[in-house]
Subunit: 303 residues, 2 copies
């Protein structure tokens, strides 16, 4: 099994996880998690989202979060931006990278962003022009399936990604927004794309909604992808399936990568402690399984 | 990604799951689950365990369970047997296959069966002789790691499996008893073993304790293994890690295999219904994620 020796894990829980929390998480608690992650060896952390505070009140403190962490050395703090206004706010707060998200599926894009995919592309073009030297990553949501339309044409996804690249995006994330991807599909799509774009920063964003998240990561590694989004504790969920889990848990991903001999530069012990702290902050247990079972190398006394 | 076009899934929940339930599951409920599974296209179901009723009161009705289902056509009903006495009881009840379980790790075998691995091998030899025409599968527990000793030597595991074969076992199951396996390890160990024993029935038994269960199944498929144990709803657990999940959920495994284009002959819709029925029987929700999220092909209405 031929896989990269090193991989990056990007924690996105402070955006993709917190945005689904009903109770407002105090700003200082959000900052404590972002700062906690920043100490553990992550190169990039998606720290917040500059969406409309009316639409997503949980993210109303995005400016404060970025301003509290942006000085920390060696870590890029990125933020999701839905439109030009969000991008202006994010840039003015001092983010290290913008992340634009839109869907490969027209129906999902319309439901989520109230615009066509074509309009989202125009939107991305304007944001990239505005960002100047600040890098812009584009996340193509529903890349492996749409909860409304079903399987999305692979050539449509790839062609959308290539259009995005031609606009000047510095990296592409293919997102399995509702956990529909399977390992064969991931391997096939990514193998072709990575071979064509050898020098590009390609990231995979999996949800563990149907228990295939870590299997999809291994398939991505086999296709040559070496960057993965994940969420501390598996914070997050699926708006379509109450009770279903969301993002792959960061500790579980880092644990698997280390067990497979793939270096991440991330302090797994510290990550598990931070996951437990997050569980206390939000007052409930999270789906991450390493939080419950410990590492494979944690042995039990014999007597 | 080169994988088999067909795979067998063996449900072991009525043994590996029920045995950990504290409340006694009424015999007729156990039988209803085994019969329910038997209607869904499984070729083999591990239906119960002929352990000492004193040691495991939950399994005191193993004879009744086997006698109630053994006439059903097209399905092999197997049972775990720990020793010669259990094998006699199982054969007399009319099981279709015996499954002997012992560990590759001395410490785990001593804790679990109170005997050395060498004595377990002698035990297996006697049971195989007693079974005559009834086939005997041997499960090598802790094949991918021991919770007391850590990583078990791969050559020790393989050499144990080969000793077992020389005694006349008809099949081998490599079990990741406490969820310590990782995909690279599974691929490496299984690739070498399967290539050497092309005609042998090799099964992999994974626990999802550390979220790697389905990734390990894909690694097993890539190594040429086409038979996997799983447990309805993910029933079961880990005696060492309270709150941690146990066996890979059967519906999640079958769903992933079908999504990957691997035929199982199993009715996934019926399996999901049976999993929900099991949740009602035991009065709590199970870890299986397809039970919560539905299939990838279940679409949501657009308006």
């Amino acid at each position: 099994m031929n896989i990269p020796k090193k991989a990056d894990v990007i924690d996105v829980g402070c955006r993709d996880g917190f945005q689904l929390e009903k109770e407002f998480i105090p700003t200082e608690d959000k900052i404590s998690i972002v700062k906690g992650l920043a100490r553990l060896g992550f190169k990039k952390i998606e720290a917040t989202s500059f969406v409309s505070p009316k639409a997503v009140p949980q993210m109303q403190d995005s400016k404060e979060v970025i301003e509290a962490v942006k000085g920390i050395d060696g870590v890029v703090f990125s933020a999701l931006v839905p439109n030009l206004k969000g991008a202006e706010r994010a840039l003015s707060a001092g983010v290290g990278e913008l992340n634009i998200v839109f869907s490969a599926s027209e129906t999902h894009n319309m439901k989520n962003l109230h615009m066509s995919v074509m309009d989202s592309l125009k939107n991305a073009e304007e944001i990239i022009a505005l960002a100047g030297k600040i890098s812009v990553n584009v996340t193509v949501a529903t890349s492996f399936g749409c909860p409304f339309e079903g399987r999305v044409s692979e050539s449509q996804v790839i062609s959308l990604a290539e259009k995005v690249l031609s606009l000047g995006a510095s990296g592409i994330t293919f997102a399995d927004t509702t956990g529909m991807a399977n390992p064969i599909q991931v391997y096939r799509m990514m193998k072709a794309f990575v071979e064509k774009h050898l020098d590009l920063a390609v990231t995979l964003h999996f949800h563990n909604t149907r228990n295939m998240g870590l299997a999809n990561i291994v398939a991505g590694l086999q296709a040559g992808v070496a960057s993965f989004d994940a969420s501390l504790g598996g914070l997050g969920g699926c708006p379509f399936a109450p009770g279903a889990t969301g993002n792959v848990p960061t500790e579980d991903v880092v644990h698997m990568l280390h067990e497979m001999g793939v270096e991440t530069g991330i302090d797994l012990g510290g990550l598990i402690d931070l996951g437990k702290y997050l569980e206390k902050l939000i007052g409930r247990s999270l789906p991450g399984q390493i939080l419950k079972a410990g590492k494979s190398t944690d042995l039990y006394p014999c007597s």
